[in-house]
């Protein structure tokens, strides 16, 4: 059993009925987190570095065909398969329920990526470059990872840290909606909602009690922090 040592348990709700698959979140994540630019060759080897991807499924056949989108990012599992296999404790669980990654501990065994059922951990097989002056866009809040290091979605932990500092200096707790990861902030349709699952009145907690909820690969027992809401279809009208 997990013990609650923090008043926050960060979680996210992804409403698939709102998601249109536009890809704004993917670029927002890349911009916020200094995610490397990967060329054609690298991606053809399956070595794309995106922390957030949108899976697209075709269901049915022409003309009764439909496409479904599923934004997949780190699920921040409470029983995370990636954590116990790391020999150097680079992959760890923080008190807020985040599944963290310490880049300067990582020795690149890739055991964690191998064990992740959601395939959301990406490994730096190459050193990536930002040719001058493109390097000016790199955010000073984030390190730039080098070759041989595993990296992943952090729920934009730098934003969480800043909000915690602000809240502490004002002697209060973080308000609902005060923190938004880059993906949720930009999502045009408001499909991504982030917040404190431990607060039953937070927007994210209310949404996570929807009858449309499900968790990704729930049967694996990983207890993800991300809750999906089923998309529509004719059956919902």
């Amino acid at each position: 059993m997990e013990t609650m040592t923090s008043q926050y348990r960060w979680g996210m709700v992804v409403d698939l009925d709102r998601c249109t698959g536009c890809g704004a979140c993917v670029v927002a994540c890349q911009a916020e987190n200094n995610v490397a630019i990967c060329g054609k060759k690298e991606i053809s080897e399956g070595r794309n570095m995106h922390w957030l991807r949108i899976e697209r499924f075709w269901v049915g056949q022409y003309p009764d065909v439909r496409a479904r989108f599923l934004p997949v990012l780190c699920q921040h599992c409470h029983d995370a398969p990636c954590e116990p296999v790391c020999p150097v404790y680079a992959s760890y669980h923080n008190p807020d329920g985040l599944n963290g990654q310490v880049y300067n501990r990582c020795v690149g065994t890739r055991y964690c990526g191998n064990n992740c059922p959601y395939a959301v951990r990406v490994f730096n097989f190459y050193n990536h470059e930002w040719p001058n002056p493109l390097d000016n866009q790199l955010s000073p809040d984030m390190t730039v990872r080098t070759r041989g290091v595993m990296e992943k979605c952090t729920f934009c932990i730098q934003r969480i840290r800043r909000a915690k500092e602000d809240a502490k200096s004002e002697n209060r707790t973080i308000r609902d909606g005060e923190i938004q990861p880059a993906c949720a902030q930009t999502c045009p349709t408001d499909a991504l909602v982030f917040g404190n699952m431990a607060d039953p009145r937070s927007r994210v907690a209310i949404l996570s009690r929807s009858p449309r909820r499900f968790r990704l690969l729930e049967h694996l027992g990983t207890h993800p922090s991300i809750c999906y809401l089923k998309g529509g279809g004719r059956e919902h009208v």
């Binding site: 670029v27 949108i54 075709w58």
Partner: protein
Amino acid sequence: LIPPDEGITPGKGTYYASSCNACPAGCGILVRVSEGRAKKIEGNPEHPINRGKLCARGQAVVQELYHPDRVPHPLKRNGPRGSGAFTRISWQEGIGLLTDRLKALQREQSTNGLALLTPHLRGTLAELTGRFMRTFGSTNHVSYELLTPDLLRIAARRSFGQPTLPYYDIAETRYLLSFGADFVDSHLSPVKYGSAFGEMRQGRDTVRGHFTYVGGRMSLTAASADRWMPAKPGSEGTLALGIARLILAESLYDSGALAMNGLEAKKLLAALDRYDLPRVAQLSGLPQGAIAEVAREFASTRPALALAGEMVAFQSNGPESVRAVHLLNLLVGSLNRPGGIYPDAGSPSGPENSFAELIALIETMRGGHVKVAMIHGDPLYSVPPATGFHDALAKVPFIVSFSSLLDDTALHADLVLPDHAALESWGDVIPVAGTREPLVGLMQPVVEPLFDTRQFPEVLLATAHELGGRMAAALPDESYLELLKGAVRKQAGFGAGVDFEAAWVDLLQHGGLFKTKSVQPTGYRWSSDAPPPLPEDPDFAGDQKTYPFHLIAYPATAFYDGRGAPYPWLQQLPDPMTTVVWGSWVEINPETAAEHGIGFGDLVEVSSPQGTLRLPAVVYPGIRPDMVAIPLGQGHRGMGRYAQGQGVNPLALVARQGTKQQPAWNATRVRITRISGNGELVTAGHPQGSLRSELVEI
């Protein structure tokens, strides 16, 4: 210890409000600047268009600023045209070269020998360029954009007597019927309407809006629909009239709305007599049952809303088909009502015949009458070669480009006077559509200019100053900023008691003027002299026997009309429908692909009467078997290291039919042939998605 520059706190970001000009939607942005460098672009929560949200393209604009291949200083050509051989010159020399040419035109009294080609400009920049050209004495000022909403304006003028684009109240509607309007990826104001779509679906407690999409290709927008109706290309207007006839015949219409617009149901029904269900079903290739079902759902769910987009407009019968769709809105009483359509207040008027003007300019250039062409934008990429633009431009002895990257046009220029990046520029950004309140977004420089570049309007002002005489008198402004402030002051209608400098700073901090004194357009009302919409049969270039497939060239989600291609984030962004990265592809129905022995990723040759392209195939379940589709935006000859040589430009295939002065980009037929098994297609995921769908229960 090195003290930081003034105004900079290390580690602390400053947010500057500005406006996005990556597409005509004109969203408001906040740019995070840290240590004097722009780090990230976010939506401006106060801006009425996007309310804090932003699309992928808008966020990538920071890579325009820091693109490693930006033109850092003015350039003069020193090799053959198109070779890309340039020498560095100073601004003084660059403006001198331009004014020498212009003075020569003035001396020869052939001022009409100057042509200016720009994208659609609005606000102060439009005013400035207009004044420049008028005073110089040239009528050759053409504003051209590939995805221009001209045809939507023409349709509105014919039906409602005003060229106002529609504003869709998607958030409040209960039944959304889109005819080729891809409002979440490119149509008018994607962030605004994407956001409204989310509200329509899940923003209300007990109502979930229904969405039906009509169009032969399942676009990104169509993928979110509850029902997809793959109508034959060019038959959308006919289908709309078939639905209208059924609504009239079964008396499901809003009789009050009809009376208010001076229409009689009986007369209208008689006028639409030819659009009976069996004929419409045959022409559109859809089952009768489905059409009748949609018609009844649309008429009995209130409020209901019908949209017509570019996929319909860019057919040979485009404007009439768009009118047919608006007739549906009238029939169910959705004009000027919540959940329906209103006239848009963003840009109530705009160019309606820009393509005809472009064709006229091409004729003038071909006749050798244009001596100097000043070009902002990249028409050598975005004007289809079938118009003859490329050969005509080659006859112009002096071409000036204002591009900040060496794009296809700049590569052919004699003089390149590089513009600032958007994040270094002043400006006003007036949204093309997406609002019912007129507003002016402001652009401000968020960083010091990186290179020795100058903003396009500043170059115009400097040129006018150099020319002297009438030109200097007509354009006396010290700087574009002063001109802009004057315009905004007028728009805001500040009284004498207002401290304008303080008010200006306030406007900049908030991102623009969101309450203007401009008059809102009056509501849509069917013109008394407007005939019922009667789209003619669609007309396609290329005969059906040799060219059995319809070609659809659609704006790629990441690239719009090609403006997004130079940015690596967008090249790396998997196309939402195909997951393809860094390239082009042609979408083929699985049945058709099997018939032609084409597999996923095979190299295919696509030929039209106009041209031939080779590109990889994507077997695409969401497209009619008699159609193929290629995304727009790739295939640049220049545009920097990330865009150059990636993919192909489908505009090379687009043919013009007859002598019509209409941009019917989607009315070309093609044939396809398999070439080899290696198309070098790269997808970011498995073609079916990497998690199995039965496992994730979606």
